[in-house]
Symmetry: C2
Subunit: 222 residues, 2 copies
DNA sequence: CGACTGTCGCCTGTCGACAGTCGTCATAAA
DNA sequence: TTTATGACGACTGTCGACAGGCGACAGTCG
């Protein structure tokens, strides 16, 4: 997680306190520092940050709207609890959106896009070779995130962004389930090849298979 | 009384003031009472509702997170402006998610589900016969909403809910573009038939075609 | 001993006020 | 007349305080 955190903290230079709290809280939830089911108490959080409840409350509300927090009126808000069933449902939607994205990428990709994806695969290989599982997971997410961002569709962006936050949350629990790390990295090469080949159906099929394989790794019962 | 609730104000019996404001504001935006690009001023809204800014601010923040409002820090928040391009991108994602939903419905539908959908088609026919275009649009949205709710997937729910709010927003502008109203209603019968037939691919294909036809009606340039 | 009921404390929901920032408009310089 | 500049006004962002709801616990009744 440190990889993304480093990248984000330098990039994110929000103005308002509420935005900073939002980014901080989101990061702590997705990194697992705040565990699933754990309770969020506005006043305590505000005190620990040395600010008033207002910006904390705003951040919490936004996180709730994004589905990372669940709120019970007049009582408590807690971090979303992922379950194998939810992960399966999440992946089903993920496949639908990402295949749409890759079809668009096949159509509109530029040379530098291919280079970027190539670089991310290399990154994954390096992480795999170093047996750095969290790093590998992060790199894989970065690869897929780059993919759907290339689709340049604001709705894909919004939806995929939401889904990936939930994916990260799901991955905080058991991020060590890979049998052969190198295989995970190599699995992405056919995707790249399919994009370059210019065949949308082939690319979509390859991606769909890849994601489902990934699901199988984490939630075997499917 | 009999049909699905259209008037939110009578149905919604939320607890907190913020929730009520959220529902009210959302309703006014989606109905077109507050126009696209129009500015939202917290203090003015609070005063007109006879409450403080806090719940108004919370509602506005949630709507911003949902993408119906756009916020410029320290200055203003305005209602999202839809464009033909955005509508096309929206529909692309909509097709992806709804085809996923209908595949699930093919697999798990119960007899009462079919009855419900049948009823909604009848509703559409009645609206079409009465040349009630807004009513027809509402009934059609209700049909599709019922469809993806039957998929019983929380992520489909969340994503489709978001997309449909944006669809409603897009439809506030030109909700009168149908050539033959009856055709619109009848178009849904093949969908129902495909669901009953139990062929997921056929159902998905039929739905995809239907949605794209609908898009063509509103945004001809595609 | 177990189920019900009333009280208590913690936390959320709401309020009014203050401070900071951005656009606007008038004014001045070219 | 056109463009730069600076004060003004309006609105958002943040603060501390109060009120009210919900769960927890203890005491009571069966």
């Amino acid at each position: 997680m440190t990889g993304a955190a480093k990248k984000d903290s330098s990039t994110i230079q929000r103005n308002t306190v509420a935005d900073q709290v939002y980014a901080d809280l989101r990061g702590r939830i997705l990194s697992g520092e705040i565990q699933q089911g754990e309770r969020i108490v506005e006043a305590a959080l505000a005190k620990s940050l040395g600010i008033s409840r207002a910006p904390v409350r705003e951040a919490v509300n936004r996180l709730t709207e994004a589905g990372l927090l669940e709120s019970r009126t007049h009582f408590s808000t807690t971090v979303l609890q992922m379950t194998p069933e939810k992960v399966r449902q999440l992946y089903a939607v993920r496949v639908a959106v990402e295949t749409l994205a890759i079809r668009e990428v096949v159509r509109r990709h530029r040379p530098e896009d291919i280079e970027l994806l190539k670089g991310l695969i290399k990154e994954m290989m390096a992480r795999a070779k170093a047996k750095d599982v969290p790093g590998l997971v992060e790199a894989e997410l970065a690869f897929h995130e780059a993919l759907w961002k290339m689709a340049a569709n604001p709705y894909v962006d919004r939806v995929a962004g939401l889904l990936f936050d939930h994916m990260r949350l799901a991955l905080t629990v058991d991020n060590a389930g890979y049998s052969d790390l190198m295989d995970v990295a190599r699995e992405h090469e056919p995707l790249l090849a399919a994009i370059v080949s210019g065949d949308p159906d082939k690319a979509a099929q390859a991606l769909s298979t890849h994601i489902m394989t990934s699901l199988e790794t984490f939630v075997p019962s499917a």
